[in-house]
Amino acid sequence: MSVLLVADHDLGQLSPATARIVHAAAQLGPIDLLVIGENGDKIAEQAAKLAGVHKVLLAQELSFTDSDLALLETLAQRYQYVIQSAGSVGRDRIPALAARLDLMPVTDVIEILGPNRFVRPIYAGNALQTITDPQAKHILTIRASAFPAAKSDNTAPIETLGDTTASVARLIATHRTEGDTPDLATAQIVVGGGIALGSAENFQLVEKLAKKLGAAIGATRAAVDAGYAPNDWQVGQTGKIIAPDLYIAIGISGALQHLAGIQGAKRIVAINNDPEAPLVKLADAALIGDLFEIVPQLIDELDKAGVSR
């Protein structure tokens, strides 16, 4: 059984999610890891190091949905599995690829039970579907947050692919969130802030605590809609799915759409002035009170205890 896995990358770097998808997919068969991107050589070199990768395929092109699909459709003929992470690129391409191949995809896989048995969440994670896929080929997206990373001790060969298709789409602008905070989907610690922060300026309190802990920053939809945080920090049913060892939720009620994104968190800390907030009810350690008093004190106490990463 052979696997075609599409790598995720950003700014010329392989995304940390890919190592996790490689680890998950390695149990399905030898992996050909496809890197699609202009100037993808460095990404391909990083990809070649991942344990479980049989070979790296490099397509040097601007990645667009339609051109990627044309490439994937051709390559798919040779594989039993086509897989990508359930990030925004995989979500965009994989269902379209499946439809072109007249196959039903299985997406957001969080557990692989066998060669064609998978578990995926539905209803914002409030129910889990166990699925058998009897089709000849399996088209999957996998959630990086649900799997550990593959080791980087491999030296797989890199093969460059020939001509690729042009796209009808044109990129006009990118609006990136500047900063060097860790990747949310794979971070070990995440500090999240809600609408209670009250302004973009106050949201820096969340950022300050995150910086101290070397944590990624998350936000609720309410905080993003209000303009306190950029959209790519949103955690939940419509945002990113996280599974850190520690999630610190500040002024977040714990609506079910937010909880959908944090079910994989090992430990949850909540700071909230409402003892009845759903997130307080399931936190491993909740402190009831005003976040504007608590968070600055907490940063001081962590300083005193010499905690910093």
């Binding site: 339609d66 048995r117 409030n126 049913q237 905690v307």
Partner: protein, 252 residues
């Protein structure tokens, strides 16, 4: 221009669902149902494009049971002109839904098809992309802004690294994200007027599409329960808890 909007009737997003103890599914009997939130944003986007003079006809389509008429009426009350119910009592997979919608696209030949980015029951996030693949039309998924520019669209998309704006030619498929707009609540006169707008009911069988499921759902189970929450008494206790967790991580 003509715009087609696909809408789904789902368990209302505020309902806390219950998994049936026998593992056969989620309890939907006697549960409040409503239009999928992302579809509401899609309908609103269509109506706003209409208000801006970019659309002279907005058609909404839903695939589902007779009761899905109510979400079509909601969309008509929001400002859509005409509805189509592709009626079936079967729970269809996304590929089958996309194939039925592709037939409607072939009949109606709309310039823009708007869908929600995901249905909050199955959380699939498939149908728009599948429809684009089946109809050979370009797609712009997860839209937070849609502009008609010349003969095409400029769509701003919400992606993992922030946002990006792409230009695509028409006809095209666009899926709506939550920050696209604020859906209106239809005023009572519009609700009354909706009842007199045309609504065609067509059995799914009429479209000669193979609707048989491809996947076998073995069971539906509840997620693991988290242990009940604990509170700590002071900031120092909280700091000690966090410090303890962090030191364990570093030990790994």
């Amino acid at each position: 221009m003509k715009i087609l909007v696909a809408i789904k009737r789902v368990v209302d997003h505020n309902v806390r669902i219950r998994v049936r103890p026998d593992g056969t599914g989620v309890e939907t009997q006697g549960v409040r149902m409503s239009m999928n939130p992302f579809c509401k944003h899609a309908v609103e986007a269509a109506v706003q494009l209409g208000d801006a003079g970019h659309a002279d006809e907005i058609v909404v389509v839903s695939v589902g049971p007779k009761a899905a008429n109510d979400v079509i009426l909601t969309a008509l009350a929001m400002g859509a002109h005409r509805g189509i119910l592709v009626e079936t009592d079967a729970e269809l997979e996304t590929l089958a839904v996309a194939k039925l919608l592709a037939k409607i696209v072939a009949e109606e030949n709309p310039d823009i098809v708007l869908l929600g980015k995901q249905a909050v029951d199955d959380d699939s996030n498939h149908v728009g992309q599948m429809l684009a693949a089946l109809t050979g039309r370009p797609q712009a998924t997860f839209a937070s802004e849609i502009k008609v520019v010349g003969q095409g669209l400029e769509v701003t998309r919400e992606i993992d690294t922030g946002r990006e704006t792409i230009a695509i030619p028409l006809p095209a498929i666009v899926t709506a994200d939550l920050r696209l707009n604020t859906p209106r609540n239809a005023a009572l006169p519009m609700v009354m007027k909706a009842r007199s707008k045309p609504l065609a009911v067509r059995p799914a069988a009429e479209f000669s599409v193979d609707l048989a499921p491809r996947l076998q759902v073995e069971k539906i189970s509840p997620p693991a329960e988290r242990v009940a929450g604990k509170t700590v008494g002071s900031v120092s206790d909280l700091a000690a808890f966090i410090a303890g967790e962090v030191s364990q991580m570093e030990a790994l």
